[in-house]
Amino acid sequence: MDAEAVAVTDLVKRFGRFTAVDRISFSVRAGEIFGFLGPNGAGKSTTIRMLCGIITPTSGAGHVAGFDLFRGSERIKQSIGYMSQKFSLYPDLTPFENIRFYLGIYNVPPPDWPERIEWVFTMTRLSTVRDRPTRELPPGWRQRLALGCALLHRPRLLFLDEPTSGVDPITRRHFWDFIRQLTAQGVTVFVTTHYMDEARHCDRVVMINAGRIVAAGSPAEIVARVLPDRPQADLGDAFVALMQRGAP
């Protein structure tokens, strides 16, 4: 993979007359944790779904994991991991069966299956509930399993859509620790969130509101730029200040 895991220029997505994403441009460097921040309805999910090849952009250009956004959605899906709080595993299948489903879909060669399955159960600490229906597991456990499934094919680029919404603080800390381990192995992580405090885990962030980028850079840079006279301010304060000023 080259230095840019993701690069998009003037990306637009319209649904009928509604413009969900309005000419956004940014790039994600290989190996970093990239935060995509904004309030609900700002266009975060639409953007991540375009980047993951689920929906086709209306216009613009871009590539993800080296594949074109318009022509390579199939290859993109095969090369990335994607986990969303919104979608779920199959609740009537056991964790083991869910994992086997993903292994098959990602076309992992069967000789590798035992080792991958072992790895996911170790990573998620779910070995004890391997044959229980997934619906019986607490939400935090299901989330770990979903993350494990998204990593089964060893992607170098991971997309996380609101991964920590509705999860307790302890689980969130474990989650971010795990994300750091991944980036230490060279995996690029693209994460959307509306929790501003989580942005401190990110190397760089982009803030989006009403479909447009309102700020970009490292969290410290953004705070310093938006609120130069308030050294104690955090990203949340900066975001509120930006919203009050309106779109740039």
Binding site: C52, G53, I54, I55, E74, K77, Q78, Y82, S84, K86, F87, S88, L89, Y90, P91, D92, L93, E97, R100, F101, Y102, L103, G104, I105, Y106, N107, P110
Partner: protein, 377 residues
Amino acid sequence: MTLRRIQAIARKEYYHLIRDFRSLYLAFIIPLLLILLFGYALSLDVEHVPTAVVDHDRTPESRDFILRLDASVYFDVVARPPSAAALTELLDRNRVILGVVIPPGWGAGLSADRVAPLQIVIDGSDPNTAGNTRAFITAFIARANEKNLLDYLNRQGREPVRPPVEGRFRVWFNEDLESRNFIVPGIIAVIIMIVGALLTSLVIAREYENGTMETIRSLPVRAGEFFLGKAIPYFFITLIDVLVAILMGQVLFGIVMKSSFWLMILASTVYILVALGTGLLISVKTRSQLVANQLAVLVTYLPSLLLSDFVFPQQNMPPVLQAVSKLVPATYYIDILNGLYLRSLSFGQLWPSFLMLALMAALIGALNIRALQREGL
């Protein structure tokens, strides 16, 4: 298109199926119920018509007539009401379908070679039964007349003459005129539609309702792989149902297929694909299990039952419905099954229906792939 992905989807679908009690119930109990229900209840044959006879005559001739009527397999004399009013009462209360009134002096008239009228009353509320009853009683009286005529000629000492025209009947293809023989193919066609289309109409809608369709969209799954993976478990379930139906037809009703078993399986395979494809297409388009299920009943099950030549003969339909029935896949499948079950036809004679089914399967498959591609697969 990779086999491993199709296998992964088919296996997942199989787990859904065996863990969902309602689906399994639908897949196996309903077909058994249908076979028993249609096989035993929906007999279109008329035998043992409940009959009441009012005998005002009370002569050896009238008693002889009643005895012979009762001895026939077509009529059961279940009541001997004293008056025409009592007969009306029986007809009103649905106790009898046929009423015969023998007037006073009937036997004497017969012996004196005069016209001896009989009053015949038929309950016409079910036209099919009434028509058959009328035909049977007419034939029964004609035979009695023939015998009377011969007796008369004998008494006159003349040469017995034969009726100038004598129809000699030979029924082909369903020698016993048993309606069960053509009901079984019809049941198989309906079962395939129920299990194939109704069950699959739920499966993609379920993914939408559970939010797992978004999972599928985010994975490297192609439309064709998804379609095949979804269809495979239901294909085998439906095929098992067909085999069970054939077996039950043999064991319970003694209906043995006269032609090739493998032609039957080939026809069933293509027809099952049409049913599964229809169900899946409805499922993608509606995205709601409830709506999909209702729609599947409306567009698959009911036409298969009503327009396919199974219950109502197509030649009696108005031209518009006849044209519509040409679009119902069950029409061709039942045509093939009747050909195989009753007439021992070969592929050389049945290929037009095979071709129609194959075209329908291909069209439904293509529509599915296009619909799924639009959904982002």
